[in-house]
Symmetry: C2
Subunit: 521 residues, 2 copies
């Protein structure tokens, strides 16, 4: 039984459903074309008369907290990925739901990871109807093979905030794992065994969910300082033995690439930014935490040192590299959405110029501006790019949904958006006639940098002009595609089923594309 | 023409209107008896597509910002009292409204001060219909004499947040004066010539107003750190020459009293707290910034030093005294709602354990708990107390409305609420048969300390028992009243007009009492 209605062609030329899981959605209209109507969501009013005067909201177990929060069939339950692949909480939530006989839940994580593989069974046994959020690894595979009852909905970090703020997704129960909390529910991510840096992904949930549960393995006396999450939003607090696996909280990719091709891409990217005049005193950049991105950051640092200039801010995903730049005064600030290693955590704890941000400040498109469009240059990854500079970041070229959107869509609004990508991966070309799944409209993607040349989006005539005599290996995107195909052959178009297993939301809540079921083996 | 309908008797036995300025209100039902229905207010959705991508929201003048924000007849305009008697902005806002021919505005300040006396003319010329907020000094006098068209509505700091959050008051335009801001609208109170500490009173306005204008005399490049106000809430920013008069931003009352009677009250209060077992390791207190309150704090500090114990937190209104206690490690934290001197500002800027709070965290009664009820002991002032421990803080015994509620009502929820008050002022007894205006229900007021004895509320049988052999001069409240009357004579009951000029809201938005017009001369 299809969980969506007939398809309409949206402004990107993609066929998307408007009724998804019984809820109305709006097809994508173009960048900046959709204006939201209505008002921000207002969760039910509460009264201090219904909360303990001494501020002690502790309940003995997560099960009891969920039951007191009214856990029942069909609810929307949110969790967060601050612990990344070291999260120990989400699986427990759905184990409890299973034991209590609850069915048909919508899981609304800020992201899911391979550690959530046990949730496959709860999708199969009907505890979870669908995931709205990224499905990295095993959960994405399951969905791709048609194993999820409902249609998955993928949103960017900003789109997730927007959806909650706009009332598109009502969260019944938010379960927030915190490395430090007090009995009132004030919580932060900078202190404790499981310190992960910040709790920004849970902000929308804390503000808008009907019931909020804070779970910690590090309960301190009121007040827990800093309070990245306000206890005034929280209904129940729970102390558990262990909230996350510290060594898995740290993200793996914190080593600068050693691959000659990747280093070449990084060098070309940095060289491009320099010759385009982007690396100047007071500039800002976001380079991400991948091996190539880190190498770009190192090139930037070197250039800044040589010229005795500094950045105004680095947008991060922080780890030891941007932290070093902050400490060497190569930047005034790190504006950080997610710390990727313990150096990032330490710096955020100790350095007032290492500032925690959230999807609200950085990415919410239905705010009064956000930080993403104020960044001079952002370097982003992609699984595929097409000849119109459209890009894909969630599916592989075989159609499998294996990655989330993260903040990727939101970052496209930077003044200059560069995709440093290899020309091919495993002999599969990255540049194609058409992307398998459209995640980012080409009009927002300015430059594609590969190890064999740089393609500037013709829409960016200013960049084309500025760089024409730069000596950089500038090529058209079609030339790059041709080079890849000469080496790897023309890539096959994946032969997909016509069943939609997930949709891709744009930053404004409209439906940008659909993801299709893969045909069995 | 009366701006209210016929009166009903509320749960405190006070006669109050239910229709006020054409809006429905609920009569007071008793402490913790009213449960709000409905949902938090949701202001209109916005889109980044309508805000500058580079984050530069500057407009040349306050006038232009107000016009772009749609300033028109009947709107609600909010301002804030972070600059106290040194504010230079609110008068300008209404001067502009006057020049633009706008009429019938509701001014919704977090408090007004004598520096706002020029606004008297804008009440008289019809630019302002009414003030909803405290009316200290000349504006209170004007209202008391029937000079305001609409009925004033007085709310506590927490009640102001509650009213905005609940949608009881919709703010059309919030004008936020900031000692430091960036073009995007991020703003703080800790940096700059006019540094006032924090901007917590503007939080509700930033979150919920339809249009938000940030005005500063200290515009810095993005990002303005810390961002106590998020630029993501802000529509326009304005740079002006001078935003406030620094020497008047600092509150006058930061000297410990030298009056022997006041010192006696302070000593008895501290002694009471000690003998009641309140001063113990890890306790918390809020003593305010008056001369007597500061003396109490000093006694506390001395006791803690002698016993080698420390407080967990001090709730402040901070100035150099609690700052010294923080620096001497007599408390882990200051949880600060308003800094009263430059030492307070410096400490908040430099010391991560000097934490800024807001009416949301500290006082909002329609939250999931707040900080006020978690404080072990609070010392508060009063203009009058009656034999049922009901207290008044806004009118004098002649009926004149000369003070605001501030956080006073909210603080009554502390574990122990003490009113250290003189037995009489200018030969007018403070303890009376009935208060002129009811601001705080007696059931929340535990102890009245005067220079001639201490009255414990009989409801607090635990305190009565604990202190019975303490050697403290315990008396009944009636005995204290009798002593005062023996000295000053029986006080006259003020002969007031029957026209209501303002109402007093309780922390839950219900109407606790009415304030009457004073009869001419």
């Amino acid at each position: 039984m299809a969980r969506y209605d007939k398809l309409v062609r949206n402004a990107a030329g993609r066929s998307v459903p408007c009724l998804i899981n019984g809820e109305e959605h709006i097809p994508y209209k173009g960048v900046g074309k959709h204006r939201p109507v209505g008002r921000r969501y207002g969760p039910p009013l509460s009264s201090c008369a219904d909360y303990p005067a001494d501020g002690d909201k502790r309940v003995p177990t997560l099960r009891e907290a969920l039951i007191r929060a009214g856990l029942k069939d069909g609810m929307t339950i949110s969790t967060h990925h601050h612990f990344r692949n070291g999260d120990l909480l989400a699986n427990q939530v759905f184990d409890i739901a299973h034991r209590e006989g609850v069915k048909g839940l919508r899981w609304f994580p800020s992201a899911s990871f391979p550690c959530h593989e046990p949730i496959v069974s709860h999708i199969q046994n009907g505890v979870i109807d669908r995931i709205e959020g990224s499905m990295n690894g095993p959960l994405g595979k399951l969905a791709s093979e048609g194993g999820m009852a409902g249609v998955g909905v993928l949103r960017s970090h900003g789109g997730r905030y927007q959806a909650v703020q706009d009332g598109e997704v009502t969260i019944d129960i938010a379960v927030i794992a915190a490395p430090q909390a007090d009995p009132f529910g004030n919580a932060n991510g900078v202190n404790g065994e499981a310190a992960c840096g910040l709790l920004g992904f849970a902000l929308a949930d804390a503000q808008y969910a009907h019931k909020v549960i804070v779970v910690t393995d590090n309960m301190v006396d009121f007040p827990c300082i800093p309070w990245q999450i306000h206890g005034n939003w929280v209904d129940y607090t729970v102390k558990v033995e262990k909230i996350g696996i510290p060594e898995k909280i740290v993200s793996g990719t914190t080593r600068i690439t050693k691959s000659p091709d990747r280093l070449r891409i990084a060098e070309l990217t940095a060289d491009f930014c320099d010759k385009a005049g982007i690396i100047r005193n007071g500039f800002s950049f976001q380079s991400g935490a991948g091996g190539t991105a880190l190498a770009v950051g190192q090139f930037f640092a070197q250039t800044m040192k040589e010229r005795n200039i500094k950045a105004r801010f680095i947008r991060a995903g922080s780890n030891k590299y941007p932290v070093k730049m902050l400490e060497e005064e190569l930047t005034d600030y790190i504006l950080d959405g997610q710390t990727f290693d313990l150096e990032g955590v330490r710096s955020m704890r100790e350095n007032p110029n290492h500032v925690d941000t959230s999807p609200f400040t950085s990415y919410n498109y239905h705010g009064k501006g956000n930080f993403a469009s104020m960044v001079d240059v952002v370097m982003l990854g992609a699984t595929e790019v097409d000849v119109n500079f459209n890009a894909n970041v969630v599916t592989h070229s075989d159609g499998y949904l294996l990655h989330g959107l993260g903040g990727w869509q939101n970052c496209l609004f930077a003044r200059n958006t560069i995709l440093p990508v290899p020309l091919f991966r495993d002999r599969i070309p990255v540049i194609r006639d058409e992307v398998t799944t459209l995640c980012g409209p080409g009009q927002l993607i300015d430059v594609v940098v590969t190890e064999r040349g740089i393609a500037i989006n013709p829409r960016r005539n200013d960049l084309v002009k500025k760089l024409e005599n730069s000596g950089l290996p500038l090529k058209s995107i079609e030339e790059l595609k041709k080079e890849a195909e000469e080496i790897c052959g023309k890539p096959e178009i994946p032969d997909l089923d016509d069943q939609i297993i997930a949709v891709i939301k744009w930053v404004d809540g409209t439906v940008l594309d659909a993801v299709y079921k893969v045909k069995p083996g």
